[in-house]
Amino acid sequence: MTVTQTAQTTVDALPGQRRKTPQQWLRQLGWRHLVGVIAVVYAAFPIVYVMSASVASGGTLTGSNELFATVSWANYATLNTTKFWMWMGNSLLIASITAVGTVLMGASAAYAFSRFRFTGRRAGLTTLLIIQMFPQMLAFVALFLLLLTFGEVVPSLGLDSRLSLICIYLGGALGANTFLMYGFFNSVPKEIDEAAKIDGATHAQTYWTIILPLVIPILAVVGLLSFIGTFGEFIIARVVLQSEENWTLAVGLYGWVSSQLDANWGQFAAGAVIAAVPVLALFLFLQKYIVSGLTAGAVK
């Protein structure tokens, strides 16, 4: 992990001194570790609870208070008999494509807002943010009817299509994520652009070959945020996707517990635990892009 050096110097550290005394360590780093551990416990204990519920046999949501009393992998095994892995595949597919699309379209829009002067620039960005605040969960009727109209013309864009779900999510690409990237683009000095222009690059060449590599950290962050958001979204996915083979993980898991009488909490817990894995894996993978190279100059 490449960590850039922020020039933090403390009064006590003399050049060449490596080891600290326990007291110094406690004062400077130890308490941070303590806070970190407490925070991790706070963040993780419901997850631990879910994991324990997933390995318990005979699960009810509130019946598994004795953590890890029984350990059986039966719930995980039964996942194989359901369409769980198909849903996982659907979710990964939809979330990845959406994330890539969001990053590309959002980055180019952010670049335009940052570099070019055009009418409506100032208001445009806030308008984008505000448009995305529309509460879609009540507006699903309009979405439903829209997809029906599309479906008559282009069958693969109708109801029950993963492609239409991706398109709907991409409708939200220009929004808060663009704003995040806008701020970052602003911190890349315009002198670079000008230098490239002098050297004969077109604006597209500047964008793709010079600017984008510089903003990889924010691209990674936005990709991750978009992936997480899409992965866990179930309200719109429930409206669009009808047949079980097309369901995403969120819709499928919700289906397992929405019927009170057939709720299978152990299986649900197992599914939930596995559902968290792709996001964490992605974050681990993107970590080095996110935290490195965040050097660029001023905040504005």
């Binding site: 922020t6 933090q8 400077q28 941070r32 806070v35 970190g36 991790v40 706070y42 963040a43 993780a44 419901p46 609870y49 879910v50 509130t62 208070n65 590309l104 180019s108 335009a112 070019f116 943010l129 505000i130 995305q132 605040m133 529309f134 509460p135 009540l138 009727v141 309009a142 009817l145 829209l146 013309v153 398109c167 409708g171 690409a173 220009l174 704003f179 000095p189 002198e191 230098a195 050297d199 004969g200 690059a201 597209a204 060449q205 964008y207 010079i210 590599p213 950290p217 179930f234 993980l249 969120a250 559902a275 968290a276 996001v279 974050f283 970590q287 996110i290 935290v291 965040l294 100059g297």
Partner: protein, 529 residues
């Protein structure tokens, strides 16, 4: 600040200058060719399906895209914004307008169909078998284009079509109960029958010239019964008449057939009702009372959520940003755990954890106390905020970390050189800078939590219910969950999609105005600093 010039630039210079038509141009050509091909396909398919709105929209979009990408005059920014803008226009903006259109109708339970469908539904529901009608073995026949029925009545074969009542056909040949040949008609094969199922099931062959005897109808192609339509629709007068009870129902402008005494037929159709849905939310006495309470709580919830998550995220970011801290990566990954779980799953799990008698928190962590986390109004509000804190702090932590790392060190150094204590540096220098970077995200988070439907719905369903009103609204209901239950979408009342759409537009306007004002404030702040 201006000393960053990646060495890659010089390497590319020669590449740019040497090629007249670079890779970029070819890529653009290929992509635009694909887009145009897709667009033309959609236009052609729309033409075939007679979907004129889609056709028109596609033509406009395609023309605009071609203009943006192949000209250079004013369209350079457009080239970057176009793809995202197209998706935004079609799947967000248009949806908003369409929702607006629906809010002007009364689409919902009881007004689910268009008028023609409603009329045929009413007629179908009231077509009753004549009491004592025998089950006639039936064979589907056709003459030219029209289908007809040949039945066996008391050993005698009778045949008729929609226009021609049943008449005897003595020269027909029978095999068991099926007619195998009949003069003047051809026997329909089962392939032909099922290729025209609707025609066959819609066919009514009058039993005799006396219309009141009813007509033959089949539902399975092999047995026919005598049916009579109790209801008669007069298209010219727009009335539906119940011939049994002699009541005439007139089509009202609210999309129902209404009798003179006020009773209405249950099946109706959708009509435009103007702005009625918008006023209903306020004039409905059941809801206008708690409306204020719910609105106040929604604001409070959104504000407090943003504050608490931001504070916790920021504090953790500051503490864990120390680069000498080993295991930062591990801390960061583990702290992201709450955010990594799909939100609604976590809310469900927390509702189990917080159960008063059996939840983990009460039983295990607090040693058997029975604190009514989700059933006492104030504790429920606290729990909701607490769960949202757990769900939301990782996002803020991530953003705050990014903001902290993007801070210019020279400013902090300058403050230190000037003798400022760490706290003072924070208060006057670092803090405001971080706030400015993250302010838009905070506003976006406020808007998100304003409409945080899944959390409330999964955790408390809006409960605990207000005991003093009759509306099914509770102490943790947000405007959006209230709208969800008011409009019946959650199944607790007759569904009214028109009302739901109107409410969503009102909520949107509310949050848009507030956010707009908020953005204006941050811009002013930006300029000051």
């Amino acid at each position: 600040m201006g000393d960053l010039k990646p060495p890659a630039v010089t390497g590319k210079v020669s590449a740019w200058n040497s090629q007249a038509f670079g890779v970029g141009f070819i890529v653009k050509l290929v992509l635009m060719a694909l887009v145009n091909a897709l667009g033309v396909y959609v236009i052609w398919a729309a033409w075939n399906a007679s979907s004129w709105v889609l056709l028109g929209a596609m033509v406009v979009i395609l023309a605009a895209l071609d203009y943006v990408y192949f000209t250079n005059r004013y369209t350079i920014p457009g080239k970057y914004v176009a793809p995202g803008l197209v998706f935004l226009l079609v799947f967000q903006i248009f949806v908003i307008f369409y929702t607006g259109y629906i809010s002007l109708t009364n689409y919902g339970d009881g007004h689910n169909l268009d008028k023609d469908q409603a009329v045929s539904a009413i007629l179908a529901q009231n077509e009753k078998r004549v009491p004592g009608s025998a089950a006639y073995p039936l064979t589907v026949v056709f003459q030219g284009d029209a289908f007809g029925f040949a039945i066996v009545d008391n050993g005698q074969v009778k045949v008729g079509t929609a226009d021609q009542p049943l008449t005897a056909a003595p020269s027909a040949t029978l095999a068991g109960n099926k007619v195998t040949a009949i003069p003047g008609f051809s026997i329909a094969t089962s392939q032909q029958i099922f290729a025209n199922q609707q025609a066959v099931t819609n066919l009514r062959v009058p039993f005799s010239t006396n219309a009141s005897e009813g007509s033959i109808r089949t539902q399975n192609g092999t047995i026919g019964y005598l049916y009579k339509s109790i209801f008669v629709f007069d298209a010219a007068a727009g009335t539906m008449t119940d011939t049994e009870k002699n009541v005439v129902y007139t089509a009202s402008d609210r999309g129902q057939f209404v009798a003179p005494d006020g009773t209405a037929l249950p099946t109706g159709w959708r009509v435009m009702v103007g702005f009625e849905n918008f006023t209903k939310a306020f004039t409905d006495t059941q809801y206008s009372g708690p409306f204020l309470r719910v609105m106040l709580w929604t604001f409070a919830f959104a504000l407090l959520s943003v504050l608490t998550t931001f504070l916790l995220g920021l504090v953790l970011a500051i503490i864990l940003n120390e680069e000498r801290l080993r295991g930062r990566k591990i801390y960061r990954t583990l702290l992201l755990l709450p955010y990594a779980f799909p939100g609604f799953l976590s809310a469900l799990i927390w509702s189990g954890l917080l159960n008063e008698k059996f939840g983990f928190i009460n039983q295990v962590l607090l040693g058997g106390m029975n604190i009514p986390w989700l059933t006492d109004p104030w504790l429920a509000k606290l729990s909701v905020l607490g769960v949202n804190l757990w769900l939301g702090f990782p996002y803020m932590f991530l953003i705050a970390t990014g903001a902290l790392q993007a801070l210019p060190n020279d400013i902090k150094e300058a403050a230190k050189v000037d003798g400022a204590s760490p706290l003072r540096t924070w208060w006057s220098v670092t803090g405001p800078l971080v706030l400015i970077t993250t302010a838009p995200m905070l506003i976006a988070s406020f808007a998100f939590n304003f409409n945080n439907f899944s959390l409330i719905y999964m955790l408390t369903r809006g409960g605990p219910r207000f005991a003093d009103t009759s509306a099914p609204i509770g102490a943790t209901d947000l405007l959006i969950t209230m709208a969800y239950s008011v409009s019946g979408v959650d199944g607790t009342a007759a569904k009214n999609y028109g009302l739901a759409s109107a409410l969503s537009i009102m909520i949107f306007v509310l949050i848009a105005v507030i956010s707009g004002l908020g953005f204006r404030q941050t811009r002013k702040l930006e300029e000051v600093l």
